[in-house]
Amino acid sequence: MSAKQQTSGLAMIELILFVLLVATAVVVARLRDLFAAVMLTGIFSLVSAGLFTLMDAVDVAFTEAAVGAGISTILMLGTLSLTARREEQQPVRLLPFLVVILVGGALIAGTVDMPAYGALEAPIHQHPMYNEFITGTEQKVHLPNVVTAVLASYRGYDTFGETTVVFAAAIGVFLVLGGRRKKSAKIDGGTP
C-alpha cells in the first residue's frame, strides 16, 4: 500500500469517526434521560480520543480517555445520584438557536481562508517554534517525547498553572460541598 493511499484511507476513517462523534453529540444533546446521556458522554470522549490518536495527538488522546471516560463519567454519576435522573420537558427556544447560527456562521466564514487541513505550509508549521521544539527536544532536553519536553520544560510554567487549576478546583469542591457524610440536610425553621 502506498503512503498516499494510506494517508487518504486514514483521512476517510477520520471523517467517519468524526461523523460518529457529531452523531453522539446530537444524541447527548437530545436525550432526556440524563443517565443515558452520561453514558453517551463517555462514548463521546472515547470517540474523540480515537480521533485525537488519528490526528497524531497521542498524549491528548491519552488524557481525554482517562479524564472524559473515567473521571468525568464518575463525577457525573455522583451528581446524578444526588439530583434528578431525568431532564424535564421544556419549550423550544428560538433565541439560542439564532445565537448559535450566528456564531457558527462567523466561525465557518473565518475558517474558509485557513490553510488546508494537514498542509505543511500552514504558518504554525513554518514558524521557527516548530523546528525548535523538534530539534531542541532532541539536543537540549534529550527526550524522545516532544510533547513531554515542551509541556514540562519549554512551557513548564503553563503546566504549573494547569496544576494550580486542578488545585483550585479541589479547593472549590471542598468549599462548596464542605461537610462530608451528611446523612440529611438539617432543616430548622429560621430564615437565613
Binding site: 485557513m114 483550585a168 472549590g172
Partner: protein
C-alpha cells in the same frame, strides 16, 4: 533577587495557597494571606518604579528565549495594574480581620483564604504575562477561585449566581481560546510581542477578523460589557461582602486591561480602529452601558445590586475611553480603571460594614443609618460623590479626561452624554444618602459604629479617592505613559 521580582509577584500568592492547606488553621492562614498581599504590593511598587525609570522588563520563564518559552513582560500598563490588584488585595484582606469566622463556613477558613490567594494569583498572572495562552491558564485559575468565593455568599441565590457565572465565564473563556487558536493558526506564535510583529502580514485574512471578534466577545463576557453583563449583578450582589469588594475592584479591571492589551498590544490601533472600525460598535455600546446601567441602578432595592449595575455603567466609561483611541481618551480610561477600583472597592466595603451591623443590604433598611454609623456613612458619601464625579474626587479626574478626549476627537455629542449620565449617578447616589441621613432610624437603634478593623480599610480606600483627587500627577502621569506606550504600538 530583584531580577526575579516579576515571577515572585505571581508565585508568592500561588505557593502560599497550598501552604494554607498544610497549616489548616484559620487565623494563621489569614495572617499569612495578609502578609503575602502586603509583600506583593511592595513587589508591585518596586516593579512600577523600575518600569517607569528604565522601561519594560522582560523575564524568560525556564530560561527559554521568548517565542519558545513563556515570557513575562512588564510595561507601564501592567505594572500599573499590578499595583492596583495588590493594593486592593492588601486593603480587602485585613478588612474585618478579627471577624472573619463569622462570615466564613466553620472550619473551612483556611480553604477560603487559599481560594482568595488563588484568585489574587490568577489576576496577577493575567496582568503580568506576555504569552497569550498563559493568559488563558491564569484566567481560569482566577475564575475558578472566584466562582468558589461567590458561591460562599449567604443564601441559596449565591449558588445560582455562582453557577450562572461559571457557565458564562467558561463560555467566555472558551471563546477566548477559540480566538487564540485562530490567531495562532494565522501566525504560528503565542507570544504577544511576536504576534504583534507577525500579524500585519495576515491582516487581510478573514480568520484574523473572526479571531478578533472572538477574543473581544470572550473578554467582553468576563468584563461584563453591556449586552454580555447579565451574570454580574447576581454575582456581585450575592457574593460575600469582602469578595464582592475585591472582585468589583479588580476582576473587571483586569479584564479591561486584557482588552486593552488585545486591541493595542496585539492587533494595533490602526487595524482595530482604522481597518475594522471597532469604534462604530464600541461607542454606542459604551453609551448604552452608561445609561442602561445607571437607570437600572436607580431602580434597585438592594444596595449591592445597585452598586453592581453602577459598575456596568462605569465599565461603559472605560470602554468609551478605549474606543477614543487617543492619548487623552486612553488616559481617561486607564485612570478611570484605577479610580473605579478605589471607589467601588470602598463603597462595597461600606456596604459590608453596614451589612455587618444591620444584617441587611436592602435600601429601605438603611433608613437612619447615617446617624447610627456616621463614620461609615461619611465614607459612603465621599465614595458616592466620587462616583458622580464631583471635583476634588478621583471620579472627576477621569471624567475630565474622557470629556477632554471626546472634545479633542470632535465628538460633540458624546461629551454632554457623559455629563448626562453623571446626573443619573447623582440620582441613585442621592437616593441612598437621603435614606441614610435624612430618614428616621427605627426605634431603639443606637449608635454603633462598625468595628475598627473594618472601618480603617474602608477609609484607606475612600481616603485614597480624595488623595488622588487632588494629587493627580502620580496616577495621571503613569496612565499617560501607559496610554502612550499602547498607542505607540510597543506591546
Amino acid at each position: 533577587m530583584t531580577a526575579h521580582l516579576p515571577i515572585l509577584q505571581v508565585v508568592l500568592p500561588l505557593m502560599a495557597a497550598p501552604l494554607c492547606l498544610l497549616i489548616r488553621n484559620g487565623p494563621a492562614t489569614r495572617y499569612l494571606a495578609i502578609g503575602v498581599a502586603w509583600t506583593s504590593l511592595w513587589i508591585a511598587c518596586q516593579l512600577l518604579g523600575q518600569v517607569v525609570a528604565e522601561g519594560p522588563i522582560s523575564y524568560m520563564l525556564g530560561g527559554w528565549v521568548a517565542p519558545f518559552g513563556i515570557e513575562y513582560r512588564i510595561d507601564a500598563v501592567n505594572a500599573y495594574l499590578l499595583v492596583i490588584v495588590t493594593m486592593i488585595a492588601s486593603v480587602v484582606l485585613p478588612f474585618g480581620v478579627d471577624r472573619i469566622p463569622l462570615t466564613v463556613p466553620a472550619g473551612k477558613e483556611y480553604l477560603y483564604n487559599a481560594a482568595f490567594l488563588l484568585c489574587i494569583c490568577g489576576l496577577l498572572g493575567i496582568s503580568i504575562t506576555g504569552d497569550i495562552f498563559n493568559v488563558f491558564v491564569f484566567l481560569e485559575i482566577s475564575s475558578l477561585a472566584s466562582y468558589t468565593l461567590i458561591s460562599l455568599g449567604k443564601g441559596r441565590r449565591a449558588l445560582r449566581a455562582a453557577f450562572s457565572y461559571l457557565v458564562m465565564g467558561t463560555v467566555g473563556g472558551t471563546f477566548f481560546l477559540i480566538g487564540v487558536g485562530l490567531l495562532y493558526q494565522a501566525t504560528g506564535t503565542l507570544n504577544m510581542a511576536d504576534l504583534a510583529e507577525r500579524l500585519p502580514a495576515s491582516f487581510g485574512a478573514r480568520s484574523v477578523v473572526v479571531s478578533f471578534a472572538f477574543l473581544t466577545v470572550g473578554i467582553g463576557i468576563k468584563l461584563a460589557v453591556f449586552p454580555l453583563h447579565q451574570w454580574l449583578p447576581n454575582a456581585y450582589s450575592h457574593a460575600p461582602a469582602r469578595v464582592s469588594a475585591f472582585l468589583a475592584a479588580t476582576a473587571t479591571k483586569v479584564s479591561f486591561y486584557l482588552l486593552l492589551r488585545v486591541f493595542f498590544g496585539i492587533f494595533g490601533v490602526t487595524y482595530v480602529f482604522g481597518t475594522l472600525r471597532a469604534q462604530n460598535l464600541l461607542i454606542p455600546l459604551s453609551l448604552l452601558a452608561m445609561f442602561v446601567g445607571s437607570v437600572a441602578a436607580i431602580n434597585q432595592t438592594n444596595i449591592k445590586r445597585l452598586l453592581a449595575y453602577s459598575s456596568i455603567a462605569q465599565i461603559g466609561y472605560m470602554t468609551l475611553g478605549l474606543s477614543m483611541a487617543s492619548v487623552d481618551g486612553l488616559t481617561g480610561g486607564i485612570v478611570h480603571l484605577f479610580n473605579h477600583a478605589l471607589m467601588k472597592g470602598g463603597l462595597f466595603l461600606v456596604v459590608a460594614c453596614v451589612g455587618y451591623r444591620l444584617g441587611s443590604d436592602r435600601v429601605e433598611d438603611w433608613s437612619g443609618v447615617g446617624r447610627r454609623m456616621p463614620w461609615t456613612m461619611a465614607a459612603f458619601v465621599v465614595g458616592g460623590l466620587s462616583l458622580i464625579g464631583v471635583p476634588g474626587t478621583v471620579g472627576f479626574v477621569s471624567k475630565w479626561y474622557l470629556v477632554l478626549g471626546a472634545i479633542n476627537r470632535g465628538w460633540t455629542l458624546v461629551a454632554p452624554l457623559i455629563l448626562l449620565s453623571s446626573l443619573l449617578a447623582v440620582v441613585y447616589v442621592w437616593r441612598i444618602i437621603e435614606i441614610a441621613w435624612f430618614r428616621q432610624a427605627p426605634a431603639g437603634a443606637k449608635r454603633e459604629e462598625a468595628p475598627l478593623s473594618m472601618l480603617v480599610p474602608t477609609w484607606v480606600l475612600i481616603g485614597a479617592t480624595l488623595y488622588f483627587g487632588f494629587h493627580t500627577d502620580l496616577t495621571v502621569g503613569v496612565a499617560r505613559q501607559a496610554a502612550q506606550a499602547l498607542l505607540g504600538g510597543t506591546p
